[in-house]
Amino acid sequence: MLRVNRRTFLKTSAGAGGALVLGLVLPGCGRGNEAMAEPVPLLRDLPGDALAPNAFLRVDTDGSVLVMIPSAEMGQGVFTSLAMLVAEEMGADWTRVRAEHAPAHPAYANPARNTQATGGSASVRGFFTSLREAGATARDLLVRAGAARLQVPMAECRAEKGAVVHVNSDRRVPFGVLTADAARLSLPTQVLLKSPDELQLLGRGAPRLDSPPKVSGRALFGQDVQLPGMLIASVERSSRFGESVLRFDAQAARQIPGVRHIVPLEHGVAVVADGFEAALAGRARLRIDWQPARRPAPDEHTAWKRLHAALDTTVSMRNDGNTAAALTRSAKTISAAYEIPFQAHACMEPPACTVHLHDDGCELWAPTQVPEQVRRLAAEITGLPVQRIRVHTPFLGGGFGRRLEHDFVSEAVHIAKAVRVPVKLLWTREDDLQHDFYRPASVHRMSAGLDARGAPVAWRHHIASPSIVARRNPTAVKDGRDKSSVEGAVTLPYAIPNVEVGYAMVDLGVPVGFWRSVGHSQNVFAAECFLDELAAAAGRDPYTLRHELLVGKPRLRRVLDLAASRGDWGTPLPEQHGRGIAAAESFHSYVAQVAEVVVEGDTVRVLRVVCAVDCGFIVNPDTVIAQMEGSVVWGLTAALKGAIRLQNGGIAQRNFHDYPLLAMDEMPDVEVHLVQSADPPGGVGEPGVPPLAPAVANAVFAATGRPVRRLPIRLGDAT
């Protein structure tokens, strides 16, 4: 067994009903933290004789195990994978394991992020040790209690399938019988984690806990929250970014049957009604004069011009060797510019948030990736202490980074404060598309030099784009050096002696935000497409060139090789068909993809995508496969379908008719190949996205002989 010192954060205190109640103090959280001092909400509600040795789990007397999931379930499978970490170490019976979203509380901060936020593909890798320790603590208590009950030495007992088993006699005591005894024992000073050969669930997989409710209509999403006496709110906002309400006339809106309240907000006007239809009808009758934005967003043409112009003003973000000199000396130089547009998240569930502000405090039902931030935000708006704010997280109908923003929560709390009855704010799809925090548009100017043998000796990648970090926190970016905007570019994995990466921050007055895989989604596209242009200029095969250049990158090289071999790289294809390959490391995982396309007239059809992934130790293999499949679909929508275009100070798109998503009949065959690894877990939700668009673009290049330099891919584009 692997011996792990128990962290010093477990403290005991006596609780109600004879059960053991623990407060948690996690490393990295100061003792002065006000919220830290309050008991963890789960334990506050502890039924008598249950065992709850820490904030993450409870064993009830019927033997069922409840795992509190500190991350937001938005499709990536954390209800299952994080519960597996606990259940594995406990020896729980998986069929008796339930999962619930943990409330907002510092005890549930992700150790990889020091806050309770679900993002950066960090759930499994962040909680991998702490949740196993939480489960192992329960196992230790239960095994001690079980050994005492059976009057045998603890060393002769183990926990499996929800019972403590005496190995020599095969006598079993179910967990449920032992909870009261176990709760009276002192906590272990150290716990033992299972060794790899003892694992029953991790690496083998377990059925998703959220599938049955999600196919039966029982799963509760933000949109579905119902409270007695609840009203429905809808907010009219300007279609132009940065505008606020100058004056408004709500007389006609008030006359709509069912409209109860009109609530002015800084950036819009809320109509609060008995139902959604009445709220929308009221909205349609509002007359609002808008205060123009101080810096209106430009039109599409001007935006691209400004981005291109900014390329002359980059600051250096990586500088190996002397790229300028190496370019001058090169036997051959090539250059290209790439344009990548704004994109929307377009989660299937538009933003929704329910707030009940009452005499005792404030309760929120917020489908959010950042419950702790939401809690502090609600405290600020209501003026209540943070301990009186309770955040419930329903299932998220998609996240992808959109719900790292809490603009919709802020609106809902402001409205609830004004109307003083439970209120559910619902956004329309039009609201969602027009008021997103978009994946930034970017332009990329690439230059490279080849030596006389065709080997790349110099690489320059200059990027101009709006900065997400600067938008969220303007003081966080010093001297225009935003690392997030250049991720995937500064981490170019190829052994090229002279590399220079530059960045120019451009504020276009368009709200930008984290979009599945963030900077990698753009920078890897430009870099991986340009590498194919280099290969073409050197007369080299794109796969073998990559393989050779991945010196000292064994994990990336391995997935590249695996994708190439499983993707039949190098075998003949019919006319008009092409194969492309791309690879990237992101979020501590490695993914390579081979895409096969057919070009028919001016349309590109993707027939097959072969994906190889090394995400370190795999907790739930089927979830990794599902996330890779989903990343392929996400990437294909961005590669082939629409874009967000600027128009009249806002965006041109309104709904799925002009912002189409990939549909079933456009879905290629997808094969996912997993690399077995003993390395620590890497991210899974995002790393499948970055290689997809360049793999497809490179396949189109192979099929047509014309490089793709703009997304979405349009064959008519002049390059």
Binding site: G75, S216, F221, R429, V670
Partner: protein
């Protein structure tokens, strides 16, 4: 007053005939399985069955479906072969669109017990999934088709 027949139950509701079916289901009947995704019949999240045919509740006035047999995801009961196949293939990710996807499959398989890829693509053309569960939907439809022909296999799943 409008009479609605939903999941085998008759409801007499004090709503106008042009009230929207989706919001009547959600707000008046507390049936939240059908989701609002777009409001323009472009995403399929609001799908319900009308006399066995999939329709988009978000653009359907209740007056147009008065007295006719409506089935929502809640009406399938949870152990319909399509639902079991969906679980067996671990189709859902975020799950928001899945009620519509499941009902699309139910309607397809009622009419066509052995749909090919072309028929599956056609039936799901208007059902968007941002999480990208399409490959698993295809597999689950095929599995459900087998189980509906040989129900004993579903029971042994």
């Amino acid at each position: 007053m409008v009479d609605l027949l939903v999941n085998g139950r008759r409801h007499t509701l004090d709503v106008s005939a042009d009230a929207n079916l989706l919001w009547v289901l959600r707000e008046r009947l507390q049936l939240n399985g059908a989701k609002y995704g777009c409001g323009i019949a472009a995403c399929g999240a609001c799908t319900v069955l009308l006399e066995g045919e999939p329709i988009r509740a978000c653009v359907t006035p209740v007056g147009a479906v008065e007295g006719r047999r409506i089935v929502t995801i809640e009406g399938l009961g949870g152990d319909h072969p399509v639902q079991l196949a969906w679980v067996a293939e671990e189709v859902p990710q975020c799950g928001f669109c899945q009620a519509g996807q499941v009902l699309a499959a139910v309607a397809l398989l009622e009419k066509n017990p052995r749909p090919g890829e072309r028929e599956i693509n056609h039936a799901f053309r208007g059902h968007l999934c941002r999480c990208g569960t399409y490959p698993r939907i295809r597999r689950a439809v095929r599995r459900a088709a087998e189980w509906m022909v040989e129900p004993s296999r579903a029971a042994r799943k």
